[in-house]
Assembly symmetry: D3
Homo-oligomer: 250 residues x 6
Amino acid sequence: MLLHLSTWSEVGQFLERSKTIVIPIGSNEQHGPTGLLGTDWLCPEIIAHEAHKGGADILVGPTFNIGMAQHHLGFPGTISLRPSTFMAAIGDWVRSLAVHGFQRIYFLNGHGGNIATIEAAFSELYAEASFARRPAGFACKLRNWWDLPGVNALAQRQFPVGHGSHATPSEIAVTQWAYPDAIKSANYAPQVAGSGPIREALDFRARHPDGRMGSDPALATPEKGGELVRLAVTGLVAEVAAFGDEAPVL
Amino acid sequence: MLLHLSTWSEVGQFLERSKTIVIPIGSNEQHGPTGLLGTDWLCPEIIAHEAHKGGADILVGPTFNIGMAQHHLGFPGTISLRPSTFMAAIGDWVRSLAVHGFQRIYFLNGHGGNIATIEAAFSELYAEASFARRPAGFACKLRNWWDLPGVNALAQRQFPVGHGSHATPSEIAVTQWAYPDAIKSANYAPQVAGSGPIREALDFRARHPDGRMGSDPALATPEKGGELVRLAVTGLVAEVAAFGDEAPVL
Amino acid sequence: MLLHLSTWSEVGQFLERSKTIVIPIGSNEQHGPTGLLGTDWLCPEIIAHEAHKGGADILVGPTFNIGMAQHHLGFPGTISLRPSTFMAAIGDWVRSLAVHGFQRIYFLNGHGGNIATIEAAFSELYAEASFARRPAGFACKLRNWWDLPGVNALAQRQFPVGHGSHATPSEIAVTQWAYPDAIKSANYAPQVAGSGPIREALDFRARHPDGRMGSDPALATPEKGGELVRLAVTGLVAEVAAFGDEAPVL
Amino acid sequence: MLLHLSTWSEVGQFLERSKTIVIPIGSNEQHGPTGLLGTDWLCPEIIAHEAHKGGADILVGPTFNIGMAQHHLGFPGTISLRPSTFMAAIGDWVRSLAVHGFQRIYFLNGHGGNIATIEAAFSELYAEASFARRPAGFACKLRNWWDLPGVNALAQRQFPVGHGSHATPSEIAVTQWAYPDAIKSANYAPQVAGSGPIREALDFRARHPDGRMGSDPALATPEKGGELVRLAVTGLVAEVAAFGDEAPVL
Amino acid sequence: MLLHLSTWSEVGQFLERSKTIVIPIGSNEQHGPTGLLGTDWLCPEIIAHEAHKGGADILVGPTFNIGMAQHHLGFPGTISLRPSTFMAAIGDWVRSLAVHGFQRIYFLNGHGGNIATIEAAFSELYAEASFARRPAGFACKLRNWWDLPGVNALAQRQFPVGHGSHATPSEIAVTQWAYPDAIKSANYAPQVAGSGPIREALDFRARHPDGRMGSDPALATPEKGGELVRLAVTGLVAEVAAFGDEAPVL
Amino acid sequence: MLLHLSTWSEVGQFLERSKTIVIPIGSNEQHGPTGLLGTDWLCPEIIAHEAHKGGADILVGPTFNIGMAQHHLGFPGTISLRPSTFMAAIGDWVRSLAVHGFQRIYFLNGHGGNIATIEAAFSELYAEASFARRPAGFACKLRNWWDLPGVNALAQRQFPVGHGSHATPSEIAVTQWAYPDAIKSANYAPQVAGSGPIREALDFRARHPDGRMGSDPALATPEKGGELVRLAVTGLVAEVAAFGDEAPVL
């Protein structure tokens, strides 16, 4: 069930049988010469919507499409929240969902650069309860789509060389599978990009002139993307069910 | 051109011929018994994407899908930012775009409840420049899709009675046209909803038990939605062009 | 009754017969070659205090004299809060009044540039209650003095040409009536000022070199100001009474 | 010269001969059974305006009338900013004035409870410059009106017993002198109020049931108020001149 | 008892016999040619730990070692929080301690520049309770170590000339007594430093080229430091006991 | 070289030969029945100070002793910053150091719960530069002491069973080595604690009744702690040197 295509009473009915919601979350940022700017929010959206299409009784919320990508601001099209803004926004999303009685907020993440801030945002939310000596009433979970059971292993088998860590062939393959009309091509030099630390935008662009980190996106194909999506969907559905079934301690 | 399906170098090329970007912005909130929770962000997205499909050389950014909807939090599925969070997030979107050289940021809005906060966010951004005695380097514009030339007049002709101000037949018609598989039906009692002031969520729900304000959504049809979209697209393309052509004073 | 000239026990007694308070709110900003810097906070203060002098049993709080005027910072004497600061301050005023049991907070506004931020501040306040699933306990209302019943119409009759939108002859007339010793004169070139968009301070001053927007302040007279004040007082007293009598829904 | 009754060009002319401005700042809070709620912002306003009336060539800005009075919130009519809000607002006032070229911002304060927060606000402002390794461009000064040369000594002579620290006969005398129509009377029990620590509002009211701290307001007379005002005016004018003449080190 | 060398259950047992905790708080900032950068947090730490060593049944928390020292940022090694950050951090310390049931939070301060911000932080904490019409549940107290009974008088006797207000011989003596291996020497020119206002860092360094204010640190000796510490310890233990014994009013 | 026992001119001299500083950072929080509340800030402080004592020419700043420990607030003695406060404070530390010309800020961390927030704080700092299209001027690095080369491997050899993730025998061993007078003992039930998710404080205490996570602290000995410290010191000195020698790209 897609929340944005549902009515409030349909969501009310869903809440009678489940207190769990899935929020695709990512970033809108450069992904090298051929990766889509939306890659990091499209991937979790694609996977979560595919789980819905496949018949799973899960509720998928709107996609949180702008994350923490300050280091990519040297490349046109990148849009980033500062960590403090990102935390405030995640906080308001979760507080809104908790008002309705959601008790399990599952974020399916598509951007490594989001992880620290999302975790900090969870702590900020929990801290409200901790300082007030009361239960939070909800639990948050962060899962990167590539960390769903088996997915990383599949990507390593698909791309034993040149997977890298940004503008990876696996994430690009997922978007190719879902948006075949938006497949781009380019010559890569070098074929496999270099790597290095992540700091401010000018530093990043100096180190990574075309935006890639350690990857060879030419390896991506829509077919490989489809394999990744199918495996991720299976893992997602199982994890969400387990999260919802988790016994509370309070 | 859809930013999220483009690469950074494609956006870089666009910037050589235009400094203007369109951001669909709305809210994810209850829209009565039959309106979709995504109505307010779907409408501007539908119109902006349709303008792109129709061949206009405009750049459409990702959709800003969560806005200021605190008064709707009494209905399941509503997700709201506080105004302060909303302003911080709009600020970071605009600052990101300004880094790349965008000078005209056009927000196509789908939610009346967003207007005050978006305008305040613009002032917050301009104030940075004003306190620093320097030019801002960019101009922001807010346009509600129903205020595009001719659109309100058409909606009044289509729905002379029962248009109302929330969960209106015009906005529902737009989503019906775009998402025909998600058309919902219900009995409305009363047929045309009442109206009243907008305050906190509990007060709102007590005044507006099914979420509508002054509207009869049963009047919506996909055909009427299509008429509205086509007229809005024409107005959008013209306005964006005029905004881009505006002569700067600094 | 003027709060600042009353004791705490007098306010306590007032609260036994009414839960409504009027707060004049405005801005301290340039008003063209002849308008007073205090115009926008003086006008609502003049009207509210005149209502008190006329015998109405209303409680008028201190004047909130600095608002959102970032666009006027290019002219000496303008003092502006950023929107975020303005919202925080309005929030603390309202929270303070709510502590005492005030349930109806009526802001009589004198500055168009304040409107968006004040509305956003109200939403920020209501959101605290909405996120906490509880009633707010108070209602806020914003009314521009020129929107009081009949006032705009009178101003249009008084100044059919050259009223404009900033440094208008109507607001200047009100201050002339109240502060006859502070009436200024100047040559205006052009006689009726131009108009344009409102952005950052440097842009504003480039577009509006003497600070006026669309107005011819030479039309103002103390007599016309007196007419405006008398009409506004009547409207204010009636509106405040109606606001106080409003039946709560919670 | 009163800024709010001046035009922007008059302020511009003033800036050619002086870079100094005086801001009366206080608080709107309970002042015992007979003190006015406005006492703490009226006193510095009275003194500064009297200096202006007396012919001093000083520029007096609008009165900052709401300060830090959280401990008085147990008494009706008190309006308080949190320290963080107060600091943000002082910051925006000073930044606005600095935009125009004011280099000496002199705050004439009427409330002891404001001192810590105003000093912290100054440090917050200076810190912007310090972190940026640049001059601030302005200097701030805080002066309590009772600390102007000779004023405290006069008050001690006028009220050798029962001066106390809140709702003092000296501050009440000043308002009696300026607002003779608003003189109140009451029986005090005890005649001289007790004292104690200042914490949250409920604690404060429990310790100080009628709001006074150590004072006997019955001793106040308009005549004594007039003596205090005249002495304070002399000190103010001299101090402001000295502040403006101070040689910069940068 | 030193909290950081205790277990949570030991602190739990302490809470059964006392609700009071001592927090040494200071600043890490330049202290002239020979003063240690840690002087202002070392002094209260030395005194509080010495009280513990001497057998007093007090609980000493971790040292809050970074305070408000923006004006010293022109000298290498200074680390400063902005006042707003400092207030937020003090707030979280106190809220944490209140969660455990501490009702008396005693800050032993070593830096004059901290005073305003710490007081503002207390007010910010109390304001939460005041706005919510509830008791705070705790009381905060700030004491500068030099204001403990008799200490200032001793320092004046020890250093009748050249005590000054920053990099004073008394504070340097205390660190010499505790850290004899870190005693530094230098030629001072002039022997007794000048004084002046405190503003931003560049202004401060221009006025106070070697960092001292009014002091002659050459007068410090470890022996004098020991005398000061012993007297301060006596005062601290007595004050903390009295604070803990204070009868609540709520 | 310990910054807090140095003068500003000594730090100035250090800056002539190195732009790198080491900041021990941790948390003050419960560590099970026998672990010290200071464990997480003592461990990095012990290691960094030991490196200094061993003769390495490194500069060690004051210890940042309070971190993100909201989940431990159910146990007496824990003091936690909210993530937003922690980020603001880290920001001010780094900005202060950058004012002096430090270009390499190395945080030696002792608390797993700090990692996300520290990384988010770095991004917040870098974002200032990225939004302003300028170099940051400094680089930050976070290293957990147990991730220094070889340290985790040694701990696994020392404690093949019962190491766990909180109140681990390795961290307790380090404090036992440094503070032999503060070694505590208790009976553990169960001998090896359980594990589980980390959420708000009440949830945490319900899952982990004595505070441990997966650990058997009885295995700790001062000797093992000494081995860990010596290995960590070697790694720290090498890493800090390499960080300082890193070639900039801008």
